[in-house]
Amino acid sequence: MRIKFLASFRKNLMLIEIFTRREIEERYKGTNLGSLWTLINPIIMLSVYTLVFSKIFKAKWGTLSSYDPDQGALVFAINLFAGLIVFNMFAECTAKSPSIVQQNANFVKKVIFPIEVLGIKIASSALFHGIISAMVLIVITAINEGRISPNIIMISLLWGGYYMILLGMSWFLSTIGVFVKDISQITGSFINIMMFMSPVFYPTDAVPTGLRWLTHLNPIGYVIEKTRKIIFENKPPTITEMLIYVITSCIWCELCFRLLKAKERKFGDII
């Protein structure tokens, strides 16, 4: 089986570059600090979480039975932040994808345009912001703990797979969004539901054993948990586990790509 979406990446590299750069710049257009905000925002967020959760709420990370009573002030904040970084990438893709084809009607109707580029720019821009935030997180953690483990490299494999999951989802939602306009209305609630369904505000251990299979089915939950394990606990997943995960993501992504390409020819009639 040929992996067609990778071929499309190679072929449209230049367009992807232009569109992704635009997508990232768009967010900070007209601001004085420009793309510095990509760095400033996560630092502010992390400071606020530390202040509110650790100093005011005096919240401790972990379940009632298992938490470490001597954990530092930063622990709750960085765990929450790690969850939010991963989740925000998902939220950005879900919010933007369903209406993206509609918004670029000119490209659909008037020129031959590789429509997959639109999904790629959404997922890539989300990944970009995620990486910047993750770098802030890793640096803060390294300073806090006074060391950095080479195992941190595993995160690139984990997020590489996650990128493909998000990319597939963007393609899927943008295809469905053309035919069923209601999709873009429901995404707002869906994002909210997913925020509480995923272990963003709590560790996976806090979920009752009977319901734990739910978090395993949820790909965001898996990525959040593994990200925390790699950065904070220095417990990277095994290579085999990662390989299975990456291959699964790749298949999902390819299926969504083929769905998009199969339906693409109908877009011009509907929009």
């Binding site: 569109f19 008037k110 020819r265």
Partner: protein
């Protein structure tokens, strides 16, 4: 041999292309029906194209004409591949560049420069090629500082300039132009028309326009579409005639009205027959006086400007250089000097400097309309009855004067192209060719039909007595 074969190659072949749209019931109705478990009502099918078959050979210029809604744009979109046909087959050989309606493939939020990059890549240019050509494209579009502004701030004219500039530089095999150039100003339209004429020499063109003159000046073949079907497929001239005839039937009421006015003028003019002889000598329309005091007066405004500022396209100019092209009216009116009237005697002066010695020089001019169609033209060689040849020494200022009766022109923009050549009619070298040396604008006109009016010596209606 090989070249011969290529000439017969097919650029586009369409067989039995059809496009149907189904107009579905409204979503809410559908939900209601599903809930109440009712049967579906009849689904409406609209056929935008119905079994359309044609072929375009390499190097042909095909016009597609027809009323709004006759399926022209649908056909073009199918050829470009942006929508797919419901049934039928389409074969396209070569790289297509299309200008479909306004702002083809532009993202309104992106700047002009970014849109150039995107569209150039979509048209198949490589990264290096884009970098290399972007300067030329920007220069051709000529929209100044707007190039770095978002496209949503552009006027429709600027959008077309940009869109045309891109496809013009993409070096396509097949160029498709949908009614779009109409929004550009006359300079730009002229520039595009010249480009299209040049392109025709090497590529295949598909051209859609509501303007019969534009189609006629560009295309050799044409298809007339009516309600999604081909009504005529043949030469551009015949297709336009059929189209014009069917339109004329509808407009016949309007025509009657105009005729009434004309008849009246003829009646009044009948009383002035005594002056006829003079008119014959001066080759004047016998209605000139009355027309020139009426609203039908054919005022032609001369748009004057500094020669260096106009964006005229030249070639040559090294050995002889045109420095001015002026038109003046010879009838002593006290009016604005920038106005000449159709039917008046005018003088066209073309001045140039010879940069080297020129043996047997020829000075010529062409009057073109805004589609680039030549209305008239003449040169100094044609008028030489004797064997005498004119020559110029190096550095000499030479002036050529053409005195002629200005034809009545249809409302619109016109331009005069002037040229200097050396040699004779059969064998000559163009030393300087200056497009758009001068622009004219004709406001309104009394001509009944055609591109230009001739002075009528007399029109009369009589009742021959039967014996």
């Amino acid at each position: 041999m090989k070249k011969n074969c290529r000439e017969h190659d097919i650029a586009i072949r369409a067989s039995n292309l059809s496009k149907h749209y189904t107009i579905r019931e409204r979503k809410r109705e559908r939900l209601k029906r599903l809930v109440l478990n009712k049967k579906a009502e009849k689904i409406l099918r609209v056929s935008a194209l119905n079994k359309v078959s044609f072929e375009i050979s390499n190097g042909d210029a095909l016009g597609i004409i027809g009323k709004n809604g006759s399926g022209k744009s649908t056909l073009l979109q199918i050829i470009c591949g942006t929508i797919s046909a419901t049934s039928g087959e389409l074969e396209v050989n070569g790289r297509i560049a299309a200008l479909l309606e306004l702002g083809s493939g532009f993202n309104p939020e992106f700047t002009g420069r970014e849109n150039i990059e995107i569209n150039a890549i979509l048209l198949g240019m490589k990264k290096k090629e884009v970098k290399f050509k972007i300067k030329d494209i920007i220069e051709f579009a000529d929209i100044g500082i707007y190039i770095d502004q978002p496209v949503r701030t552009y006027s429709s004219g600027m959008i077309v300039r940009l869109a045309f500039a891109i496809i013009a530089h993409s070096d396509p095999d097949i160029m498709i132009i949908d009614e779009a150039l109409a929004v550009g100003d006359s300079y730009f339209t002229q520039k595009c028309m010249r480009f299209i004429q040049r392109f025709k020499k090497k590529g295949t063109l598909v051209f859609v326009s509501h303007d019969p003159n534009a189609v006629l000046s560009v295309c050799n073949k044409a298809i007339l579409l009516e309600n999604g079907e081909i009504k005529y497929n043949g030469t551009a001239k015949d297709a336009l005639e059929i189209y014009a005839n069917q339109e004329r039937i509808k407009q016949s009421e309007n025509v009657e009205e105009v005729k009434d006015v004309r008849m009246k003028q003829v009646d009044e003019e009948g009383k002035r027959q005594t002056k006829k002889e003079e008119y014959v000598r001066k080759w004047k329309d016998y209605r000139t006086e009355i027309i020139n005091t009426s609203k039908y007066k054919n005022e032609i405004e001369l748009i004057t400007h500094d020669n260096r500022e106009i964006e005229s396209e030249d070639y040559g100019g090294e050995e002889a250089c045109i420095i001015s092209t002026r038109l003046e009216n010879l009838e002593k009116r006290q009016d604005d000097i920038n106005i000449v009237l159709g039917g008046e005697l005018v003088k066209l002066n073309i001045e140039f400097i010879a940069r080297k010695r020129i043996e047997s020089l020829i000075v010529g001019f062409i009057l073109k309309d805004d589609k680039g169609l030549t209305i008239l033209g003449d040169n100094s060689f044609n008028s030489l009855i004797s064997d005498e040849e004119y020559s110029a020494s190096q550095g000499e200022l030479i002036r050529a004067e053409f005195i002629f009766t200005m034809p009545l022109l249809r409302a619109g923009h016109y331009s005069i192209t002037s040229s200097i050549a050396e040699g004779n009619m059969n064998n000559h070298n163009i030393l300087h060719w200056q497009n758009d040396s001068m622009m004219l604008e004709s406001q309104c006109t009394s001509i009944a039909a055609g591109m230009a009016g001739l002075p009528m010596q007399s029109i009369s209606i009589t009742r021959p007595r039967r014996k």
